[in-house]
């Protein structure tokens, strides 16, 4: 089963594919999705010289993406299991990999941003929004839950990360002021 056929089946019959496809098949497709999606992000960032060139640079970005998505999938699965919904954490992780394919949009958008027709940050957030929407759709089908609950569970890890980051930032500034004064 090729990546294209898996995506095609998923687009045509998402509920059926999520239910009947084995972890192995989804795993291959999901990891390819991570690889291609993060490669697109890498190329987008390279267009603006935001990351250094080379395989190590891409590998570190890929590892970061895999790590973050693994944690997010685990957190979402834990939250949903605790609230009574049943699903498959590994499938969720692999399906998240397929949603990463939306990062491919970043390359044509990146060209437009290079030509000053679009803002690169806006491009990134546009893709981010599309990925979140796709993830909500996947979580809803995989765990047989309502759209709102899926949205809540998908947004929860991002909210946690952002709030943690801002807390750290505030503490860092307070510490810096205390250190100097």
């Amino acid at each position: 089963m090729t990546l294209i056929s898996t995506i095609s089946d998923l687009l045509d019959d998402p509920q059926g594919v999520i239910g009947r496809t084995s972890r192995r098949e989804l795993g291959w497709a999901g990891m390819s999705g991570y690889g291609l999606g993060i490669f697109s992000l890498f190329i987008f960032l390279r267009l603006f010289s935001a990351v250094p060139p080379g395989a190590y640079s891409y590998a570190s970005l890929l590892l970061l993406g895999l790590g973050v998505n693994f944690c997010f999938a685990a957190g979402i699965h834990l939250f949903l299991e605790m609230t009574g919904a049943e699903g498959d954490a590994l499938k969720l992780f692999f399906l998240f990999g397929l949603t990463e394919l939306f990062m491919m949009l970043l390359i044509p958008l990146g060209f437009l941003a290079r030509l000053d027709y679009l803002n690169p940050v806006a491009d990134f957030f546009l893709c981010f929004a599309v990925i979140i929407a796709a993830r909500v759709s996947i979580i809803r089908r995989l765990y047989s839950i309502s759209r709102n609950k899926a949205l809540l569970s998908a947004a929860m890890p991002y909210a946690a990360v952002f709030s943690g980051f801002f807390m750290l930032l505030v503490y860092a500034i307070v510490y810096l002021v205390w250190l100097v004064v």
Partner: protein, 350 residues
Amino acid sequence: MEEQNVPAAAPDPAPVPAQAAAQPAQVKPSRTRLWLKAIAALYAVSLAFSFTVISKVDSAMKSRSREMDLSKLTGLGAGKKDAVAVIPVFGAIYQTDSSKIWERGSQQIARRIKSAAAKKEVKAILLDINSPGGSVGAVQEIYSAILRAKAGTGKPFVARFGDVSASGGYYVASACDKIVAEPGTITGSIGVIFSASSFAGLMNKVGMRNEVIKSGKFKDIGSPMRDMTPEERKLLQTLIDDSYEQFVAAVSEGRRIPAAEVKTLADGRIYTGRQALKNRLVDKLGDLQDALDLAGELSHIGKDPRIYRDADPIDQFFSILDSRLSFFSGASLEKAINSSPRLEYRWYGI
């Protein structure tokens, strides 16, 4: 009629739904796959284009990085190319609490002079002065830091005057090898001032009295609670005269003008840059770029040298906070400190 014909037209209903179900199942995926293949092809093309763009961006970045002056951005001076350090001396010069690094006092300026002079890549130091002067001690601290740096490293110092560089601002500049001023710069005001307010009349009027117990008759000299006595005035005049002699000696030594001649210029008057040039108080008329070129020539690194700015990011951060938000009430603190009487090399025209 039609309702009756429908069952009749379908004698064998079983295969029809099967065919109807099979047809979309075969067509739909192939269409989707076709679209996906088209998208994949477009993606491959855009990837090829993106590699071209990236290679061009990289080559442009490489060629720019050779010329780019990183010290302008970070102040850390990533390159080791020879440079001229630019140290701003802006505003009134006073000593401030040295523990607060965001307050730009004389200690900080002296520290920056020492630090810049010690840098290998710094071949000359340009003091960008825009100051009406300040307290005697603070001005002399910067002056001695310049002399020490010159004696220790032999690097040339150039002073550049902006709007105003009078009194203490000129005192500092006199330690430099060359002085560049704008034609309309206000400079001069060579002299010393001591001012003390007296609230004695006001206190008498409101019936308030200040009791002072002192070890000597001059212990509360300059007190605003009473009028100054002739003896105190005489004593203060000797202080003023001595500080004035120090100023004249510094100008005479720095500008290589006889002290007697300096005294004729040093009656406290101010000069424009052009008048100062005529009186040999400055060496050249020009702007910051002219001063930089002169510093480059003196240090044998040529005109239009690279600029080294010793900007501490933490210092900048707190300076911005202080200036934009008055976060640490730096201005009010400075006003409170400056309200007490003191000897000053300062011009009060601004």
